[in-house]
Symmetry: C2
Subunit: 333 residues, 2 copies
DNA sequence: AGAATTGGTTGAGACGTTTCAAAAACCCCC
DNA sequence: GGGGGTTTTTGAAACGTCTCAACCAATTCT
C-alpha cells in the first residue's frame, strides 16, 4: 500500500525511471511537457520519496544527532531550538536524544545515531572520559561538544565559561557580605558542575552539597539537607536553576525568608527563574545562540574536505543577573 | 573511511556476507567458531550496521515521529518523555518535531517524517482541519492524535477531557465568589483552547482574551491588556500555565496582589507552577502517561494486520490542584 | 547534404543489507 | 565406504534511489 516507488510513477507517466529522478532532482533538465506529465503521475499516485533509499545511494544522510542530558530542563530545550533553527537552514533534520545523565543511555543513543549514519553529533557528554566520543570520531563521525569546552583542541566545541560563571556568582554573594556559602551541585562528574565549583571556590571557602541530578527534585533534597545542618550557610549557589528552584521551594515551605534568611543564586537564567516565588538571581547563558553556533560548526565540519579541518572552540561569556533572591545576610550576631 | 560494509567484514573473516548477516541477526544459526571469527572481524574493523540499508531491505523503519506544538513548553517535554519511554521499550527511536503552532511547519515536518518512512506519527495538530492527516493516513501511515480527542472514531487518540478541565477551573473560581472572570487563551483554532473555553463558559459568562501563542510572552501581553480594561475581572483562567505565569508576572510587577486583587488559575500543572511567585492553582494532566499511552497505541496500530484495526480513543480526566493563586474576590463594593 | 551541436531521454549499475533456496560439510551408523 | 540426516555456509536477488555514459532527434552550421 503505502509504498509507491519511482518505477510505478515512471510507468504511469510513460517515461523511464531516470527521467522521474530528474524531475525530482533537476527539474529544468527535463522538457516542460514531460515534466508536467511526471508531476501529475506523482500526484495521482501520492508518491513520496524514500529517504532511506536516497541516503543509501548518496552515502550520507540529511540528519544530525543531538544528545542532551535532559530535555525536561528548559536550558536544553532552548539550546535545542537553536540547533533546530540552524539545522533546518542547512536542510537537516535533528534527532533529539536524552542521556538522562547516564553513561549507558548515552552510549545506546550514540550507537543508534551511528547506525543512522547521521552527518554528525552534537553532545553534552555525561562525563569527562571521551572514550566513546573518540571512537565515534575515529570512524569519521564529526562530533561537536555542546556546553562543554574541548580542551585539547581535538574537537569543535561551543561552551560558556563556567569557571567565570561560578566566579561571578560567588563574588556577588561575597560582595553582599556572605561568608558561609554552600554550593549545591549535581554530579561532580559533569564538567559543568565541576567548573562552576572551581570558579566559585576561587574567591574563598565553599561547602559542597552534591546531588544526584540537575533537577528540581534533587534541589528539594539539597534544601532539606541544608536545613538539617547544624550551622547552615547564609547563601547558596546552585549549579543550575532547577536545583535553585528546588531549594527555594523548601525554604518557602518552611517559612524561611529569601534572601533574608538565606540567599540563593542559580545558573542558566531559564525563563522560569524570573517568575519564581522569589525571582531568582542567576547566571545567564546565551542558550539559543549556543545551540545555533554548535549546529553551524557541525555543519561546517561535516562539509569540510576530509583532511585538514581545524577544530574551533567557541567560548561565550556568562552574565550575572541579579534579582530578588540574593541580598545581604542578616546582621551577624 | 567511515563506511565499512558487511562485505569487508566477510572478506576479513573469510566467510560469505550471508554468514555475517546471520551472526548479526540470528547468532545461534551459525557455528560457534565462525561466529567468533566474524565477531572479531567486526570489532577489528569497527563495523557498524547501516540502518538505512536495513530499512530499505526490510521495508519498515525503526522510527516514530512526534510532532508537538512547542518543545519549550514543559508540558510537551513531559509528554515526550512518556513517548520516549514507550518507544524505547518497543525498540523504536523518536524523531521529535516542533510545529510552533504553525501549519506550514507542521506540514513540512509531516513530509519529512513520511520520507523517512516512520512507522507512525504522534501529533498534537495545529488545527482542527485534518486534511494533512487524512492524506497521510490514506498512504498507510498510522497516526495517533495526542492531547486531542478524535471525534469520529477514525483515529486513535489519547486526550484529557479539556471541557471538564475548563469546567473544573471555572467552577472553582465561581465557587470562590468570582463573577467577572476572563479566559486568557491561545489561538482559538487550537482544540485545547476551544475546549477549555467551552467547559469554562458552561457555568456562566466569560470574557475572552485570545493571544497568539501558548507561551509566557503571550501571557504577559494578556496581563497588560487585562490591566488596561476599564472594569477588569477579579479572576482569570488561563489556557495553560505558561500564559498564567506571564499574567502573574505582570500582576506582581505592578504591585497587585494575587489572589487579593485578582485570582489566577492555570492549566497543565507543570512543575514550575508550584514554584511560581504565587504558587499557581492549576488543572493537572497526566502528562507522562499521556505520551506513553499514545506511543503504545501507535505501536499497536503499526503492528496490526492491515485490515480491521479498531481505533481506540483514550480519554483521561484532569484534576484541579488548588494552590495560593486563587482565592475569594475582595469584598465587593 | 552531411557534419557538428544541442537538448532530452534512457538503462544499467551501485549503494548495504536481508532472505532463502540450494549446496556443502559434517556426523552417525550399518 | 556409502547412505541418511543434520548442521553450516553460500550466493544471488531484491529493496528504491541516483548517476552517468550512451543514445536519439532535432536543429544549426559549413
Amino acid at each position: 500500500m503505502g509504498t509507491t516507488s519511482i518505477r510505478e510513477v515512471a510507468e504511469r507517466a510513460g517515461v523511464s525511471v531516470g527521467t522521474v529522478s530528474n524531475v525530482l532532482n533537476r527539474p529544468d533538465a527535463v522538457a516542460p511537457a514531460t515534466r508536467e506529465r511526471v508531476r501529475r503521475a506523482i500526484d495521482d499516485l501520492g508518491f513520496v520519496r524514500n529517504e532511506s533509499a536516497r541516503h543509501l545511494r548518496a552515502g550520507r544522510s540529511r540528519t544530525l544527532g543531538l544528545v542532551v542530558l535532559d530535555v525536561t530542563n528548559p536550558f536544553f530545550t532552548d539550546v535545542a531550538r537553536g540547533v533546530e533553527d540552524a539545522a533546518n537552514e542547512a536542510g537537516l533534520a535533528v534527532i533529539l536524544c536524552n542521556s538522562d545523565e547516564r553513561r549507558d543511555k548515552e552510549q545506546a543513543y550514540l550507537d543508534l545515531l551511528e547506525e543512522q549514519r547521521v552527518q554528525g553529533v552534537l553532545i553534552t557528554p555525561v562525563d569527562v572520559d571521551g572514550d566513546r566520543l573518540t571512537r565515534l570520531r575515529r570512524r569519521g563521525v564529526p562530533v561537536v561538544l555542546l556546553d562543554r569546552h574541548a580542551g585539547e583542541g581535538d574537537y569543535c566545541s561551543v561552551a560558556v565559561d563556567d569557571v567565570l560563571g561560578g566566579e561571578l556568582a560567588a563574588a556577588h554573594l561575597r560582595d553582599l557580605g556572605h561568608e558561609r556559602i554552600a554550593y549545591v551541585s549535581g554530579p561532580m562528574s559533569l564538567a559543568q558542575c565541576a567548573d562552576r565549583y572551581r570558579g566559585a571556590i576561587a574567591g574563598g571557602e565553599l561547602e559542597i552539597l552534591a546531588g544526584t541530578a540537575l533537577n528540581v527534585a534533587s534541589g528539594r533534597d539539597a534544601g532539606e539537607r541544608l536545613l538539617g545542618l547544624r550551622n547552615p550557610p547564609t547563601a547558596v549557589f546552585c549549579a543550575n536553576d532547577l536545583l535553585a528552584l528546588g531549594v527555594l521551594q523548601v525554604m518557602v515551605a518552611r517559612g524561611l525568608s529569601v534572601p533574608g534568611d538565606i540567599s540563593i543564586v542559580g545558573y542558566d537564567d531559564i525563563e522560569f527563574a524570573a517568575a519564581a516565588a522569589v525571582p531568582l538571581s542567576s547566571v545567564r547563558q546565551p542558550r539559543h545562540l549556543l545551540g545555533r553556533t554548535a549546529a553551524e560548526l557541525l555543519v561546517a565540519e561535516a562539509a569540510a574536505a576530509e583532511p585538514g579541518h581545524i577544530h574551533r572552540q567557541v567560548r561565550f561569556s556568562p552574565e550575572l543577573v541579579v534579582r530578588a533572591s540574593s541580598g545581604p545576610p542578616k546582621a551577624t550576631l
